[in-house]
C-alpha cells in the first residue's frame, strides 16, 4: 500500500544534463536517485486503482506471419497472479508541468511537436490529460515521479494495460476476409475495418483532450480508458514468424517503436509526440496520445 506521508520533492534545480541523464537512464535512475530537500510543495501520490489477481482473454500485440501469410496472434487466456496498481486517470497537463518545472521533463511546447512560431500548445489545459508527449517524455515522467515519491512508477506493459482496461480493451484480430487473402484484398479488408471503427469516433469531442472523467469509468474504476486520448505502453514492437504448423521460428523485437493503447492498438516511434504523425502510412492514427503509470508489482 502507498505510504501515508509522501516523500518530498527534489528541489535544487537539477541541471539540464541531469534531466537528460534521467531521460536516458529511464527507470534505471530510480534506484540510484537521491532525495534532496525540497522547498516546493510535495508531490501527492497519484490516485491508484488496485486490481486483484484474475484471468482474461488476450491476444499478444505481435505482427505475426505464419507460413508467409499475415495472421492474428492466438487468443489466449492470461492469468495475472499478483495485484496491479494503476493510475485511476491519465497524467494531466498540470501533473506533467510539475515535472517540467523540476527540469526532469521536456516542456510540451518543445520544438519537435510541430508547434508553429514557438506557440504554446493550446491543448495544455491543466485539468485535462497531457498529450503530445512521446514515450521518452512518459518514461522521463515515470523516472521523476519515482524519485519524487520514492515509489517505483513505470509505464504499463500491454498485458497490464489490457487487464486494467477490462471491457474497454479492443481486440485487434486481422479481419476475417484478410486472412489468407492476396495483397489487394488484404489491404482493402484492413482499410474497411479502419474506416468502420473510426467512423465518428471523436464526435462531439474532436482530438482535444477533455476534462478527467469525461469518458466515464470502466468496471475497475479507471477513468477515460479508450476515450479520445490513447496511452503509451512499455511494450516494444515484435514481429513473429511462425512455421506452417504454428511453431515460432523467430521473434524480432524493435524497442524504438512502442505500442500505444486505446480504442485500437497503434505503434509509434518512441520519440514521436504528435499522434497524427504516429502509426504507419495505412490506418488512422490515434486522436491524441498521453499516458498513465503503474506502480511496479515488485513493491
Amino acid at each position: 500500500m502507498p505510504p501515508s506521508t509522501p516523500p518530498t520533492l527534489a528541489s535544487q534545480a537539477p541541471s539540464w544534463a541531469l534531466a537528460l541523464l534521467v531521460v536516458l537512464l529511464g527507470l534505471a535512475a530510480v534506484a540510484t536517485a537521491n532525495r534532496l530537500s525540497s522547498a516546493q510543495a510535495p508531490i501527492a501520490l497519484p490516485d491508484l486503482v488496485e486490481l486483484g489477481p484474475g484471468a482474461f482473454r488476450y491476444r499478444d500485440p505481435a505482427d505475426v506471419w505464419r507460413d508467409g501469410q499475415p495472421t492474428s496472434a492466438p487468443l489466449q487466456s492470461i492469468r495475472i497472479a499478483g495485484r496491479l496498481r494503476i493510475m485511476r486517470h491519465q497524467v494531466t497537463a498540470a501533473d506533467y508541468q510539475r515535472c517540467v518545472k523540476a527540469q526532469a521533463c521536456l516542456a510540451i511546447d518543445g520544438a519537435i511537436d510541430g508547434a508553429i512560431d514557438g506557440a504554446i500548445d493550446a491543448d495544455a489545459t491543466p485539468d485535462r490529460p497531457v498529450v503530445k508527449v512521446s514515450w521518452r517524455d512518459a518514461d522521463a515522467y515515470a523516472a521523476w515521479l519515482s524519485r519524487s515519491t520514492g515509489l517505483p512508477f513505470r509505464l504499463p506493459t500491454d498485458r497490464e494495460w489490457a487487464y486494467a482496461a477490462g471491457s474497454r480493451f479492443a481486440d485487434d484480430a486481422e479481419p476475417a476476409d484478410a486472412q489468407g487473402a492476396d495483397p489487394g484484398r488484404r489491404v482493402l479488408a484492413r482499410y474497411d475495418k479502419d474506416v468502420d471503427r473510426n467512423a465518428g469516433r471523436d464526435a462531439g469531442f474532436g482530438k482535444t483532450p477533455q476534462p478527467i472523467g469525461t469518458f466515464g469509468a470502466n468496471e475497475h474504476g479507471l477513468l477515460d480508458v479508450a476515450g479520445n486520448v490513447w496511452e503509451w505502453t512499455d511494450t516494444c514492437f515484435v514481429r513473429t514468424t511462425l512455421d506452417a504448423l504454428g511453431a515460432v521460428e523467430a521473434n524480432v523485437v524493435n524497442c524504438g517503436v512502442r505500442l500505444v493503447e486505446g480504442r485500437h492498438r497503434a505503434y509509434m516511434p518512441d520519440f514521436i509526440r504528435d499522434a497524427r504523425a504516429g502509426g504507419c502510412s495505412v490506418g488512422t492514427p490515434p486522436s491524441a496520445v498521453g499516458f498513465r503509470l503503474v506502480l511496479d508489482a515488485a513493491r
Binding site: D63, W65, G68, Q69, P70, A115, I116, D117, A119, I120, D121, A122, D182, P183, G184, R185, V187, L188, Y191, D194, V195, N198, A199, D202, G206, K207, R239, T241, E249, A250, V252, V282, T284
Partner: protein
C-alpha cells in the same frame, strides 16, 4: 448580327445540364456524331463556412454551387456554353467568372460581374479541346482571395470524335473523376490555433497577410483533408480505364499514383496535343488543369497524391482509389515474408 443572337441564328438544339458535385461528373458522350449544341449550365455563387480538416478547422469559403472545386462542365468542341451565374441576395460580395476555355473579355469575367441579388447569362463558343479551369476574378486582391477561398472549377471540351492517343487511335474511359486541388490559408491565433471568423469580411485582412507568405496551411483535394479517403475513397475495378482530371488554380502540383502510372497523360490538359505515355509523376501548372488516363491493374488502395509528400501527408493532398478485383501475382509477389535477417553466403 444583333448582339446575343449569333447562336440562335444557327438554330442549334439546346441541352440543359444538371451539374453534380465533384469528384463525380455529369453524364456525357465521350464522342458524338451529333452537331454542335447550346449547352446550358447554372452556377450559383455561395459564401459559407466549411470545415476543412478533421481537427474541425473552419474556413470562410466561397464556392460555385457549394462545392470545392466547382463542378466539372463537359461539352464538345464547337458547342456553345451558356452559363447563368446567380449571386444570391444572402451573399455579401460581387462575383464573376473567368473561363480559361473562352475567348475575350477576361474569359467572360468583364461581362459577368454581379452583386448580391443579381444574375447574368454568358454564352461562349468552345473552340479548343482540353480541360480548362474557370475561376472568380472580381478584381484587385479579391481575385486571389476568392480563388484561395474555393472559387474555381473546370470545363472539359472533348473532341467531337473523342480522345486519341499519339498515333490517332481512339481512347475511351470507363469512369471519370474530377479532383480539384486547393490551397487554403487559415490564420492562427497567438497560441497557434487556427482562427475562425464570424464573417468573410472579418477574415479578409488576416487571410491576405498569410497568403502573401505563399505558404498554405492546407493543400487538399475536394475541399477538405480526407474528402476523398476512407468512406469517400473513389471506387474503381481492376481492368477499368479511369480518366482523372486535376485542376489547380493557384499553385503547381505533381500528381502521382502510388503503385500505378499515367498510361496517357495530357499534362497541359489540351487534347490537340498527343498524350505522353507511361508517366510516373506529371505536372499540373498553377492556373491549369490536366488529364490522365490509367487502367487499374492491381486491387487495393491506390493513393493519388501530390508528390511533394510534405503537401500530401502534412497538408492534406492525398486522395484514395478503392480498387477491387483479382491480384496479379506476375506483376508483383512477396517472395519472402518479413522476418529476421538471413545469413548470406558472403557472411558465412
Amino acid at each position: 448580327m444583333p448582339a446575343a443572337a449569333a447562336a440562335e441564328a444557327l438554330n442549334l438544339p439546346r441541352q440543359k445540364i444538371e451539374l453534380v458535385a465533384p469528384p463525380y461528373v455529369h453524364a456525357h458522350e465521350q464522342a458524338t456524331t451529333a452537331g454542335p449544341k447550346i449547352m446550358e449550365f447554372r452556377l450559383v455563387a455561395e459564401e459559407k463556412q466549411i470545415v476543412i480538416d478533421d481537427e474541425g478547422t473552419k474556413l470562410r469559403a466561397m464556392t460555385f454551387n457549394g462545392s470545392i472545386p466547382a463542378p466539372l462542365m463537359v461539352v464538345h468542341e464547337g458547342d456553345y456554353v451558356e452559363v447563368t451565374l446567380v449571386n444570391p441576395a444572402s451573399n455579401t460580395m460581387p462575383h464573376n467568372i473567368d473561363f480559361h476555355s473562352a475567348t475575350g473579355a477576361s474569359g467572360g469575367g468583364d461581362l459577368t460581374l454581379i452583386g448580391p441579388g443579381e444574375q447574368v447569362m454568358l454564352r461562349w463558343k468552345a473552340t479548343r479541346t482540353g480541360v480548362f479551369i474557370y475561376h472568380c476574378i472580381p478584381g484587385g486582391p479579391m481575385v486571389p482571395w476568392h480563388i484561395a477561398s474555393g472559387m474555381s472549377g473546370a470545363v472539359m471540351v472533348l473532341p467531337r470524335d473523342g480522345l486519341k492517343d499519339g498515333a490517332g487511335k481512339p481512347l475511351s474511359y470507363d469512369r471519370v473523376y474530377y479532383l480539384g486541388e486547393q490551397d487554403f490559408y487559415v490564420p492562427r491565433d497567438a497560441k497557434g490555433k487556427f482562427k475562425s471568423y464570424t464573417t468573410h469580411v472579418d477574415a479578409f485582412a488576416d487571410t491576405m497577410d498569410l497568403m502573401h507568405k505563399l505558404i498554405p496551411t492546407h493543400v487538399v483535394f475536394n475541399g477538405a483533408v480526407g474528402a476523398l479517403t476512407g468512406k469517400n475513397a473513389m471506387p474503381a475495378k481492376v481492368g477499368e480505364r479511369v480518366l482523372i482530371i486535376h485542376s489547380q488554380a493557384d499553385r503547381d502540383s505533381r500528381p502521382h499514383l502510388v503503385g500505378g502510372h499515367g498510361d496517357y497523360v495530357w499534362e497541359t490538359g489540351k487534347f490537340a496535343n498527343p498524350p505522353q505515355t507511361d508517366l510516373e509523376t506529371w505536372f499540373i501548372r498553377g492556373g491549369s488543369a490536366g488529364a490522365a488516363l490509367y487502367k487499374f491493374l492491381q486491387p487495393g488502395i491506390v493513393a493519388y497524391v501530390n508528390h511533394n509528400m510534405i503537401e500530401a501527408f502534412e497538408l492534406g493532398a492525398t486522395a484514395h482509389f478503392r480498387v477491387e478485383g483479382p491480384w496479379n501475382e506476375d506483376l508483383m509477389t512477396q517472395v519472402r515474408a518479413p522476418g529476421p535477417l538471413q545469413k548470406t553466403n558472403l557472411e558465412r
